[in-house]
Amino acid sequence: MENQEENKVELKDRRTEIVEAYVHYVLEHGREPVSVFKFVKSLGMKEEEFYEYFTSFASIKSAVWEKIIDDTVRGMESQEVYQEYSAREKMLSFYFTLVEELKKHRSYLLSMYEGHLSFKRNVPMELKGFKEKFKAFSADVILEGKENEEIADRSFISDRYEDALWLETLFILQYWLKDTSPGFEKTDVAIEKSVSLAFDLMGKSALDSFLDLAKFIYQSK
């Protein structure tokens, strides 16, 4: 039992070690290693050992993104005030914490994605895990928003809210990568304004009353 536990810890360390070495390589060289073979050689590791943890470089990149969102959620939830937040504030808090986490990896992310023109049109494969975790988080927030009526429950459309928030996330990622303002203040402003818009759109609005009336007139004809 004890032995197993130890083994697990070691397994985890080895995994983190590979991720760190990979990130380090990218930072030093400004690009990916040429091949897994060359990469593990510099690590003093056998290639087959590498495959115990990762299948390719893409899965390492994916791990970096997943670590970012895991740390974001953990950091955000550790703030006491978080539990008192409304859905809108939770979303804001998520993005603010996210850009703080991203900052720790800025050089790495820049060398990987600076030339990447549009996250929206061409979502990098390695964001898949990140996306799943984000969707799980945003689904909770949306559910909560519906419960306290911050968010209007509209048939068909409300199923797409998560997708809309994901697009917003991509927009923020891209905006942050290009942001050159001191302290990334402009990203803060972009977050504040775009979340505000998203929740205004999702909230109950004149449109709902209009649809309601239209439905009534149609039905009572």
Binding site: I157, P182, V189
Partner: protein
């Protein structure tokens, strides 16, 4: 899928705020132009229509666009609302409203600002902290905090304000031409000064430093109260100071204070400015009513040293020589000062020189009137009407309008603004003041 990309497109153009704000301004500009056309069209039909009507509809449109902007545009609106003598009366009330209407920051962004600049959260630093702002400042918002039974005011700057100062000013420009009846050259001459002050105002570290410095230097003046500042809880985006309980002048006046009380508060205000201008040569240049709080114990609390004008020595000498009463100042001396301060220049024709000398002489003798006697009653309504009338008369004079010259030193901008502010506050108070002045001016 289509509604997704729709949604995205809308989000995409939100933060490119500069373009958006520019269009906002453009729209208003067009509207104001339209108002002029409408006005003159109406006037052909109805010659009795006054300019006041036009100003009212202009103010409406300009205000509605300014109120949607934060930061420096708001600040310019504020400034224009302060300079009552420049602005026609109808603009004033609308602009006064702008001082209280910027959309607040969300609480998570407040927390983020704390984390970024102080490395901690508001909850960790204080025992309690209001989730929403209790007050709006022009470049930020104020929260109330409590710790160990003491109340604090915490001012937080809107992110991105400092960066947008210059671009915002560029956008205000076309309005200012029209509103202030100035030509481009004249305006640029002053805009530089405004930009400098505004940039300083976004520097919270400097503000704390100046607040402490000036409060210290004025601590001997009776009936004044200055809050303590807490540099360890302040940063480039946050200022923490003591909370001041009390009433603003307008509210205080509703409690019907006695003439004696009003004179006492007014005198404290006068002494405060007199000491800064003539001894420190550094002045709190924002005598906005919100910055003065009358406390329960009858002391006048003074806050917000964001806008401080340092008065250069050569400007000081010339400018204040002008307030000598007419009898004491000689013709040649006056001429020299007018040239030095740029009121008139060698580019002017002889006629222009003569005209402007006359105008400035009249202005100076009117505005300097409080200095010409031992005491002055600021309650005197007729004095202020005289100032408005003169402003209107000169502003509408053809000779004045067609001049392409920038007139007056840029340093005068904030000093004038300060004096107008003080006069206004003293008028609100209806105070009778011993108008002390430096020794060298009386001789």
């Amino acid at each position: 899928m289509s509604d997704k990309s729709e949604n995205y497109r809308e989000q995409e153009h939100i933060p490119t705020s500069k373009v958006q704000r520019a269009t906002k301004f453009f729209k208003t500009g067009a509207k104001v132009g339209g108002n002029y056309v409408k006005h003159y069209a109406k006037k052909m039909v109805n010659p009795n229509l006054t300019k006041e009507d036009l100003h009212a509809s202009n103010a409406e449109d300009i205000y509605s666009s300014l109120s949607e902007l934060k930061g420096s545009a708001l600040k310019v609106a504020q400034m224009m609302s302060m300079d009552k003598n420049i602005l026609p009366r109808a603009y004033q009330d609308k602009f006064m409203m702008a001082q209280y209407s910027a959309p607040p920051l969300s609480y998570p962004l407040v927390v983020r600002t704390f984390q970024k600049s102080l490395g901690t959260t508001p909850e960790a630093l204080f025992e309690s902290f209001t989730k929403s702002a209790v007050n709006a400042a022009s470049m930020g918002q104020v929260h109330q905090a409590e710790k160990e039974g003491k109340k604090y005011a915490v001012k937080i700057q809107y992110p991105g304000v400092a960066e947008s100062v210059s671009s915002d000013l560029k956008m205000v420009r076309p309005f200012a031409y029209r509103l202030l009846n100035m030509n481009e050259k004249e305006l640029d001459h002053y805009m530089e000064e405004v930009e400098e002050r505004l940039l300083e105002e976004t520097d919270y570290v400097l503000e704390v430093q100046r607040s402490e410095e000036i409060s210290q230097a004025c601590s001997h003046i009776p009936d004044l109260y200055f809050p303590n500042y807490y540099p360890e809880w302040s940063s480039d985006r946050i200022i923490t100071m003591d909370w001041i309980d009390g009433k603003h002048i307008k509210e205080w006046m509703l409690t019907n204070p006695s003439q004696e009380e009003r004179d006492r508060i007014g005198q404290a205000l006068w002494d405060f400015y007199n000491h800064q201008i003539h001894n420190l040569k550094k002045v709190h240049a924002d005598p906005h009513p919100g910055n003065f709080i009358i406390q329960k114990d009858g002391k006048l609390g003074i806050i917000d040293f964001g806008c401080v004008k340092v008065i250069p020595e050569d400007f000081y000498q010339g400018y204040f020589s002008l307030i000598k009463s007419d009898l004491l100042i000689k013709e040649e001396e006056l001429d020299k000062i007018f040239f030095d301060l740029g009121f008139i220049s060698y580019k002017d024709t002889e006629d222009e020189q003569k005209y402007f000398k006359g105008v400035f002489r009249a202005m100076i003798s009117l505005l300097g009137r409080p200095f010409h006697s031992e005491s002055f009653d600021f309650a005197d309504e007729s004095y202020f009407m005289e100032i408005f009338e003169m402003g209107d008369r000169i502003g509408n004079d053809k000779m004045f309008k067609k001049s392409r010259q920038a007139r007056g030193s840029r340093h005068g901008l904030y000093i004038n603004r300060t004096y107008f502010g003080i006069y206004n506050l003293l008028h609100q108070l209806g105070a009778n003041i011993k108008t002390t002045k430096p020794e060298w001016l009386v001789k």
